[in-house]
């Protein structure tokens, strides 16, 4: 699986540098970006590739918390975690909208364990290898031939669970989600012949 993508939204250069130097020690695990351009932030959210947003909630003038509520909504819709970075007083009620809160005086250890905890469900760290394994090729071929997960499992003598996990990895590696997209990949790479591809 890919590194965990963290978007840090923080105006202060000093704080940004601090966060960067702390997280850098785990750069094999986290990919960090910074932004304070609203449009850019929104684009990143909508790309669906964001795993976690570390946001200083006082970045915006947002007295009623409208923006934070929208962000919460986005976090649910686009599947990322919302973490507050707090170093000044902030409305307790609004802080409840965050998945986790990191305080300015938290120690390094604590920051890591908080991050760890919040993404626990989302991460399964694997190597960064993007090449498709032989087994995955087999799965792609069978998917392209229109087989169900159960049929693929039977044919390859593996469990359905394993098929599903192969398919997840395939999608991550190739960036292709749909069956018809995978079919094209299979034809291009000669995993199946064009003649197998009946539903033209």
């Amino acid at each position: 699986m890919d590194k965990l993508r963290i978007l840090v939204v923080e105006h202060s250069e000093i704080i940004r540098q601090g966060i960067f130097s702390i997280l850098r020690s785990q750069s094999y695990k986290y990919e960090i970006r910074f932004s304070d351009q609203a449009r850019d932030i929104n684009d990143q959210i909508r790309s669906g590739k964001l795993d976690l947003m570390l946001l200083n909630p006082s970045t915006y003038f947002d007295p009623k918390g409208e923006r934070i509520r929208l962000l919460r909504q986005d976090a649910i819709n686009f599947g990322f975690k919302l973490v507050a970075l707090v170093y000044a007083y902030f409305d307790e009620q609004l802080l409840l909208l965050f998945d986790e809160i990191i305080y300015i005086n938290d120690e390094e250890e604590k920051i890591f364990s908080k991050l760890e905890k919040v993404v626990e469900t989302a991460v399964q760290l694997q190597d960064d290898d993007v090449t498709v394994s032989q087994r995955e090729m087999d799965v792609i071929r069978l998917v392209a031939l229109g087989k169900s997960n159960r049929e693929i499992a039977e044919e390859l003598f593996i469990s359905v669970h394993t098929v599903i996990s192969h398919r997840k990895n395939i999608t991550n590696k190739l960036g292709i989600k749909s069956v018809s997209g995978l079919t094209i990949y299979a034809v291009i790479n000669k995993l199946i012949g064009a003649e197998d591809f009946s539903k033209s």
């Binding site: 351009q37 609203a38 449009r39 850019d40 932030i41 929104n42 684009d43 909508r46 409208e66 923006r67 929208l70 190739l174 960036g175 292709i176 989600k177 749909s178 018809s180 997209g181 079919t183 094209i184 990949y185 034809v187 291009i188 790479n189 064009a194 591809f197 033209s200």
Partner: protein
């Protein structure tokens, strides 16, 4: 047997004017607020994507130096709605007021329908035409797969949008009519809810992403990169535009309708 799309102003000969399509690519940030006094020509200079909004409201180009408010008046449009949509398109961080008036609904639905028409009768056929050109230029035996894939995708979009036009929009307009009826006993009970729509508002960008990935990463190198790039530019633009369109349905239309539903239920 492939039916040629009958629309299309795709130039028969390629010329330098194709470069103009570059402007459609989302250009990053445009953090300015549009007001009634803003000159239409100025805001378009700053963010060319607003051209799409303007046409969808039925405003024709050639408006001279008129301000947004003046142009709205001349076209019989609700200025505050037009401003809201312009600002939301211009900056995703524009915060939408919580309570929006129900007199936005009819015009907003017309706007969305115009968007559908644009996607279905202009944008998608145009991209299909570009794919055909790409295929002509590169005799790769597999390139027809891309065309089939795009057709499949087009069908998904057609289905998505016609569901909205057949079911969702008529429901909302009916609701609007009912809310004008004074006596509660004349009202029909609600058989559908806008949240049913939102819960099933399908993702029509998945295949689009796949196609981008195929063209960028997986389809083997082709002698012609010009049309391949052009297709990609258009796919990115379409993706962006569809996102905004669906965002309008979810973030602006739906909350107004929810309020309307409550109002009708409350009085009924």
């Amino acid at each position: 047997m492939i039916r040629k799309p009958d629309i299309l102003s795709v130039p028969k000969k390629i010329s330098a004017s194709f470069d103009i399509y570059n402007y459609l690519i989302p250009s990053g940030h445009s953090e300015f607020i549009i007001t009634g006094e803003s000159k239409l020509v100025d805001i378009i200079q700053l963010n060319q994507r607003l051209l799409l909004v303007i046409s969808r409201f039925g405003i024709s180009l050639g408006f001279g130096d008129k301000s947004v408010a003046e142009v709205c008046k001349a076209n019989g449009l609700n200025t505050s709605l037009v401003l809201l949509v312009l600002n939301v398109f211009n900056s995703h961080s524009y915060s939408v007021p919580e309570l929006l008036p129900k007199n936005y609904i009819a015009e907003l639905i017309q706007y969305l329908k115009n968007g559908h028409k644009y996607f279905l009768t202009s944008k998608l056929p145009y991209i299909e035409e570009l794919i055909n050109r790409f295929i002509e230029k590169n005799d790769n035996p597999n390139s027809y797969l891309l065309r089939n894939f795009f057709k499949e995708y087009t069908n998904e979009v057609v289905e998505h949008m016609s569901l909205e036009e057949r079911t969702v929009f008529p429901y909302i307009l009916g609701l609007l009519q009912q809310s004008d009826v004074e006596k509660a006993d004349v009202r029909q009970p609600l058989t559908y809810k806008i949240d049913d729509f939102i819960d099933n508002h399908s993702n029509i960008e998945e295949k689009l992403d796949d196609l981008k990935q195929l063209l960028i990463k997986h389809f083997p190198p082709t002698p012609d990169q010009f049309f391949r790039n052009l297709i990609l530019f258009e796919l990115f633009d379409l993706d962006y535009d569809l996102n905004d369109h669906n965002g309008l349905e979810e973030r602006i239309l739906t909350p107004i309708v929810r309020t309307l539903e409550k109002e009708i239920k409350g009085n009924g």
